[in-house]
Amino acid sequence: MAWSDFKVKVLKDQWALGKTAEEIADLINDVCIYDVPTTRNAVVGKIHRLGLSGRATPPKPSKNHIYVDVSAIKETSISHSIKDGITIVIETGEEPARIICPPCWRLRWLSDFVFSQKLNDEIFQPMLDDVQFEYNEAIARNRLKKAKWITIRGHLSFVSMLFALLPTIIAKQSGEVWQVLSGRK
């Protein structure tokens, strides 16, 4: 199997991102569909030949923080606005342990309440998930100010996203109103 420059670049990038050899092989096979399939062992061999030793590891919670999926908690003490599937961070360094609300959780609730399921699933939730991922990463490295900034930036992104969507929403709504009015006429 030939290792093209493209495949080597993908391998280096993904390895640096902390992906496993199997995931990298799957990714290469997904992209280079006309080539001979790349196996996990081929990827491992290439990694050794390229001398790629150091790699980024995925973020892990620091000693004082643990991540908990809200759906795993039976108690209803957590605000009903924090929905299932969202991870919260619990600060265990203090007594009693303190729950840190996920960043932009009010925006999650708001977008869920105001916008359609489709807009939510495709546009708002992925953006808020990204914010949470970055936030978790900052918390894991004990960069609390950075985590706060990420939350603020998340709110700003949400507003700019609303402005980006506004023309589409207005056009759709006016179209519907126009159809209703012309139907009445």
Binding site: L27, V31, D129, V159, S160, F163
Partner: protein, 100 residues
């Protein structure tokens, strides 16, 4: 129908990144791009998904946190990007030829 094959500059850039780097999160695309912003990337991706240029799936992160949406270019997206690239080159070529 013709609307489906229009590719805005931002869409083109996002598509190129997806083609070059495989499957990416919205945030990865923003980090790798100079012009795409956090506030607009998902609007751009959603428009491209409607046109069939990209597809997405939810993947659970090992490190914790909510499942994240990963995007990748479809075969139609690759063709659209290639066509846009060819059109751009042809246009630039014509301009050069015209100025000689």
């Amino acid at each position: 129908m013709s609307d489906h094959f229009k590719l805005a500059p931002k869409e083109f850039e996002a598509l190129q990144l997806l083609i070059n780097h495989g499957e990416l999160y919205g945030l990865d695309i923003v980090k790798r791009s100079e012009s795409l912003k956090r506030g607009t990337i998902y609007v751009v991706l959603s428009r491209m998904a409607e046109k069939g240029f990209v597809e997405s799936r939810l993947s659970k992160e090992k490190s914790g946190g909510p499942p994240r949406r990963r995007f990748k270019a479809t075969a139609l997206g690759v063709r659209a990007a290639n066509a846009a690239e060819a059109a751009k080159e042809a246009f630039a070529g014509n301009l050069n030829w015209g100025t000689v």
